[in-house]
């Protein structure tokens, strides 16, 4: 309850402070609040856009949260989601004649596998070499951008376009969309399913029991006979796999191709999502919804006001992260 209050306060403080900043820049806070409100709640269509922006944040929020539970700070979700997208693109451009069910299942598994393996590198180095996962995942992020760029401009290139993007995937890979215009698609069910599954894994299985013990009381775990190295690598694999599923949402659900640099920070927003949810998988759903709404309404701010751009969302995110972090000084994890 205390945590919830602190989270709420952090969100409020973040929003209020950014409203102060914007009103200093000459935009009335009331206009902003009104615009944001209508942007989210004015129609069912708007709401479906909000859910569309929420979906990838659920994946990246879960990704960061899982790693946190193991005492690891994964700021590599951004890279992992790209590699997951790359794997899923590879799968869908390679197996052209699969029936839809197998096509989509395979693509989902590949997205998970790609992100998971990429993150497992960091887990492996942490477990076997003691390399700090933060530095390693930062490096892996940059490497992933280059790897994806290499394939998108090379082997997977879209022959019909000058844009840096892959070829289009076949129709059998497309996820169901709920209404013609709004991009909300079936990936949101996958996201909710993942949140529930992650919750079950972390809180209801022996694996989760051990992982959480490692994250919150490393020395006790070390002395209790738990195979810490293995659990760390597995936790990173799961964390990266969840991030990789963003590829399902983007490529099978939305763009139908891999556009270079499409994410533009979804992995980093995941940090804010997880922090605000206190790493509770089911709370991640709500936290992601908040940040999804924020992204959506910031887009409308750009359209409807003269002085504010969509980057307003980043300001609020940054502030919320600062405040949440200040209210929960992290216990020593390494």
């Amino acid at each position: 309850m205390k945590n919830f209050k602190e989270s709420l306060l952090s969100v409020l403080a973040g929003i209020v402070l950014s409203l102060i900043i914007t009103s200093l820049l000459g935009e009335s806070p009331i206009t902003i609040i009104k615009t944001m409100y209508y942007s989210v709640f004015s129609s069912f269509d708007q709401l479906s856009y909000v859910l569309f922006y929420t979906t990838p944040l659920i994946f990246t929020g879960l990704s960061v949260a899982v790693a946190f539970h193991a005492g690891l700070f994964n700021i590599g979700s951004e890279g992992q989601l790209y590699i997951g997208s790359l794997f899923t693109t590879f799968f869908s451009l390679t197996f052209l004649n699969l029936p839809s069910f197998f096509a989509i299942t395979g693509a989902i598994l590949f997205a998970f596998l790609g992100g998971g393996l990429w993150a497992a590198i960091a887990g492996f180095l942490k477990a076997k070499r003691g390399s700090h996962e933060v530095i390693v995942t930062i490096m892996l992020n940059f490497i992933s951008y280059a790897v994806c760029g290499y394939f998108i401009l090379g082997a997977f290139k879209n022959p019909h376009s000058q844009n840096p993007e892959s070829a289009e995937i076949g129709l059998q890979y497309h996820l169901h969309r709920f209404s013609g215009d709004a991009p909300l698609n079936a990936a949101i069910f996958l996201a909710i399913f993942c949140a529930i599954l992650t919750w079950l894994l972390l809180y209801k299985t022996n694996w989760g029991f051990e992982v959480r013990l490692i994250g919150s009381s490393l020395e006790t775990a070390r002395r209790s006979g738990i195979n810490i190295k293995r659990r760390l690598i597995e936790a990173m694999f799961l964390s990266g796999g969840l991030a990789g599923l963003v590829g399902v949402h983007e490529i099978l659900g939305h763009a139908y191709k891999f556009k270079d640099q499409f994410s533009n920070g979804l992995g980093f927003v995941g940090i804010a999502v997880a922090l605000l949810a206190r790493n509770k998988p089911l709370m991640v759903l709500f936290s992601a919804l908040l940040f999804g709404a924020l992204s959506k309404s910031a887009l409308d701010l750009e359209l409807d006001t003269e002085k504010i751009t969509r980057d307003m969302a980043l300001i609020i995110q940054g502030l919320i992260i600062l405040f949440v972090a200040a209210s929960q000084r992290r216990k020593n994890a390494s």
């Binding site: 180095l125 933060v134 280059a146 290499y150 922090l275 002085k307 751009t309 940054g318 600062l322 000084r329």
Partner: protein
């Protein structure tokens, strides 16, 4: 002739890395992990360019560039040193904040989406020389700071074993705040170079990950002045070689391979056991508010 060009371009590319890396070094040596270098670079380059576009006064412009970076440093040190938030999370938050705040400011002031008005040639610092001199000064200054000065010694102690200072009645937090702020000012010179020297005004996301390459160079250089300088130059050299090879068309290795080199090398360095006694080169007190 050709080699001269190559080296000059390598130095140009290295310059912002050098400033950022040494800025980060001060903070990290005092025991505060700093992944906010990107925010320093972004905000200082923005402030310098914005004020230049407004006042056309070089002095004001440089000053506000420095102040812009130091402002980020003040927020960073408040959260990391005073509040003792997690240093990585705080740094991350500042990077996000800077990438968000600057475009909003640009829109409000200039009606543009994330850039400042393009600067006339006379408003730029078109010669690289002053920046090279500044980089040399920073290098020599840092070297002497850690080798000879009282403050450098205290910074080192604060980052390695804070009780050594505390037991002598020295305020560790104060040492760290000073180190962070001086570091922020140094890194800001790199930001100023980006918008006034290398570019003509601020463009969206101007630092383009250089803050992180600088961090990689710092780790690769094991937090020591000379190896860090070499790492920056090395990364810069490969980048310029890559550009050269691409433009001359003599060799076509994918650009991506060269781009990732700094990151890949740092990763390899982290992955290879460092030999005797697994010596850990990072300052021991980094992100350990319990010490």
């Amino acid at each position: 002739m050709l080699l001269d060009d190559l080296i000059l371009s390598a130095v140009r590319i290295s310059l912002p890395l050098i400033f950022a890396a040494y800025g980060g070094m001060l903070s990290e040596k005092s025991g505060v992990a700093n992944i906010a270098l990107e925010a320093y670079l972004l905000f200082s380059s923005f402030c310098a360019a914005a004020v230049m576009a407004l006042t056309h006064n070089l002095g004001f412009s440089i000053l506000s560039g420095l102040l812009g970076g130091v402002f980020v440093g003040i927020i960073f040190s408040f959260f990391t040193v005073k509040v003792k938030s997690d240093q990585i999370i705080a740094g991350m938050a500042l990077n996000i904040l800077a990438t968000g705040l600057i475009p909003v400011l640009c829109k409000a002031f200039y009606g543009t989406s994330g850039q400042t008005p393009s600067l006339e040639i006379q408003d730029r610092i078109s010669s690289t020389t002053p920046f090279i001199i500044a980089a040399l000064l920073v290098f020599i200054g840092t070297f002497i700071l850690f080798k000879k000065s009282v403050f450098g010694l205290r910074v080192t102690a604060a980052g390695d074993h804070p009780p050594a200072l505390r037991s002598q009645g020295i305020n560790v937090d104060f040492v760290r705040v000073k180190a962070i702020l001086i570091g922020a000012a140094i890194a800001s010179v790199g930001g100023i170079y980006l918008s006034l020297g290398a570019g003509s005004g601020y463009t969206r996301n101007m630092s383009a990950g250089r803050g992180f390459i600088a961090l990689a160079a710092l780790i690769f250089g094991r937090w020591k002045p000379i190896p860090t300088l070499l790492a920056c130059l090395f990364f810069g050299f490969f980048d310029s070689l890559q550009i050269f090879l691409q433009t001359s068309g003599t060799l076509t290795i994918p650009t991506q391979f060269v781009q990732v080199l700094p990151y890949l090398l740092t990763l390899v360095l982290l992955a290879v056991p460092t030999g005797k006694a697994q010596k850990n080169f990072a300052p021991q007190a980094i992100n350990r508010p319990d010490l």
